[in-house]
Symmetry: C2
Subunit: 324 residues, 2 copies
Amino acid sequence: MRILITGGAGFLGGKLSAELMARGSIAGADGGPKAVERLTLVDVATASGPRDPRVTSLAGDLCDAALLDRAFEGGVDGVFHLAAVVSGEAEANFDLGWRVNVDATRALLERCRALPSPPRFAFASSVAVFGGALPDRVPDDQVLTPQSSYGAQKAVGEMLVHDFARKGFVDGRSLRLPTVTVRPGKPNKAASSFASGIVREPLAGVEAPCPVDAATRMWLLSPRAAIANLVAGYEAPASAFPVSHAVNVPGISVTVGEMIDALRRVAGDEVARRVAFRHDPAIDRIVRTWPRDFDAHAGRALGMRSDADFVSIVRQYIEHDMPK
Amino acid sequence: MRILITGGAGFLGGKLSAELMARGSIAGADGGPKAVERLTLVDVATASGPRDPRVTSLAGDLCDAALLDRAFEGGVDGVFHLAAVVSGEAEANFDLGWRVNVDATRALLERCRALPSPPRFAFASSVAVFGGALPDRVPDDQVLTPQSSYGAQKAVGEMLVHDFARKGFVDGRSLRLPTVTVRPGKPNKAASSFASGIVREPLAGVEAPCPVDAATRMWLLSPRAAIANLVAGYEAPASAFPVSHAVNVPGISVTVGEMIDALRRVAGDEVARRVAFRHDPAIDRIVRTWPRDFDAHAGRALGMRSDADFVSIVRQYIEHDMPK
C-alpha cells in the first residue's frame, strides 16, 4: 500500500505516520490487511517523521500542482487528508481558509480521481461543521450549520468527498474529529488551542490563560484515540458508512472546570492553580457554537472508541507527549 | 436599485425580469421599496428580455473575469443568482457542473464582497440538496445528503452563501426551489424535465414520454409562484431567515398520476392519453432521491406561497405560457 498523509508534519500526522510504520499494514481495497510499502508525508514544512526507508517527506503548498505531481508519483492507494488552516486562523484569514481547506481538498480529490483505481480517502473533518441552536446531545443526523469559516470549509470538504465517493472516484469517508487534546508544543491559532494549553502549560510550570469560563462544555479526544479512530475510519468498509459518507468520531463530553479538576487529581493543586481565567470574546464566540456532546452511534458502529475520562487523557500526555 | 440576474436569459430569469420591470421597485438595504433603476441580465446566451431602457443583457461565461467586470460595472445592489447547469447535465458532466454551479457562485460572491456595501444575494438552490432515506414530509431542519452532483453543488453553493453572509460580505439567502412546472419550450437535460413535458407536449398534440411511474410523488411549484417566492425571499429581512440562511420554498406534493388526472380534467381524455410511460432508469434514479413533500414552515413565514393545486398549474400554463 502506498499511503499519502497531508498535514504529515503536524502533531497528528506524525503520530499517524509512526502508527502506520509500527503496524506495518493497513486495509487494502478488499478490506484485508496489506503491507504499507510507502508513506508519503506532505506538509508546508518537511516532516521530521519516522526515520524509515518507506517514508518520504515533501514540503510545499497543497494547491501547487508540481507538489501534487510529486506526491502522486508512482501511484497512491490511500489518503489521510489531515492538512488544514485551523479555526482561529481561518476566521481571521478568510481567503487562506477557503484556499487551503477547500481548494486543496478538491485538488487532492481530483488527483485521486485520475488514479487507475479509486483510492481510500479519509478526510479529517471537525465537529465545527455543527453550530447554532444545537440539542444538548447532537444526533448523527444533525443538520450542518457551521458558525465559523473553518466549519463551513470542512462542511464543503465533506460534500466534495461525498460526491466524489458517490460517483466512485474515491472510496471516501469524512471523520469529524472532536477537539484533540492534550497537544504538546506551542499554542496555535485554533480556537480550541486553550484546551491543550490549560493542561500543558501548568504541567510545565507556566501560567495558562483560559479564554472561556469553567462551565464551557467540550467534546474531547486524546491524540492516541484520535489516531486509532482515524485508522478505524479508514479501514471500515464503505458499506458501513451512512449515506453522507461522514461520521461523528466518538469523544467525551467534559467541562473546562472538570478538565482542571482532572489536572488537579493527577498533578496536584499547585499545578491546577496555574490556569488563569481571562475571557477572550473572539475565542469564546467560536467555541460556544461547537457541539458539547454527541450520540456518535455511527462512529462507534465503525469500531471507533473514546477515552475513559479526562484523567486518563492527562496521564496519556504526561506519559507520551510531555517533554521530559 | 441596480439588480443583477444570472441565468437572465432562462425561463425563470425572463419572468423575473418582466416582474421586476412591472413592479418598478424592490426592497432596498433598509427593507423599504426602492425604484429598480438598472437590471443587468447575464447568461450564456443574450437574453431577449423585456425591451426597457433599464435593462442590459450580457452573454458569456460566469467564470470569465471580464464578463463579471462588465456585470458589476457601476455597482450592484442586489443579485438573483439563477444560473446553473441542470441536474441531468451535472450528473453527466461532472466537471462542468462543479465549475458552473460552484466556481461561478463563488466568483459572484467574491465580486459582491468587493462592493462598497454588501448587496442582497438570493441564491436559487434546489430540493435536490436532500436525498437518501427521507421522511415522508421533510422538516425545515433536515440534514443535506444529496444523491446527485447537482444537489451536492447546490449544497456547496448554500454553504458559500451562508459563510459569506455570516461574515457580512453579502446579505445572503438560499431559496430551495421545488420542481418548477409547467415550463414552455423544449425538453432540457434536467432530470425533472418530464414534469413539464407530460403537460406541455400532450397539449401541443405530441406524445410525451414519462420516465417514472404514476405513483412517483414530486414537490412542485408553478412559474408564477416561483417568481413571487424568489421576490419574497429576496425582500424578507435577513433576521427572518434561519441560522443556515436557507429556506425550503413552499410547493405542493403531487403524484405523476395526479398530474395526468389534472391534465385530463382541464384538457380532456384524448390529451391526457398522449402521456406514454417509458421507464428511464437514469432519470428515475435521480428523481427517486428527491423529497416528495415538505413542512416548509420557514418559507411560509417569509411570506412565500404555494399553488392551490395542479389543475391551477395546468391552467396557468395554458393561459400564460402555451404558444397560441
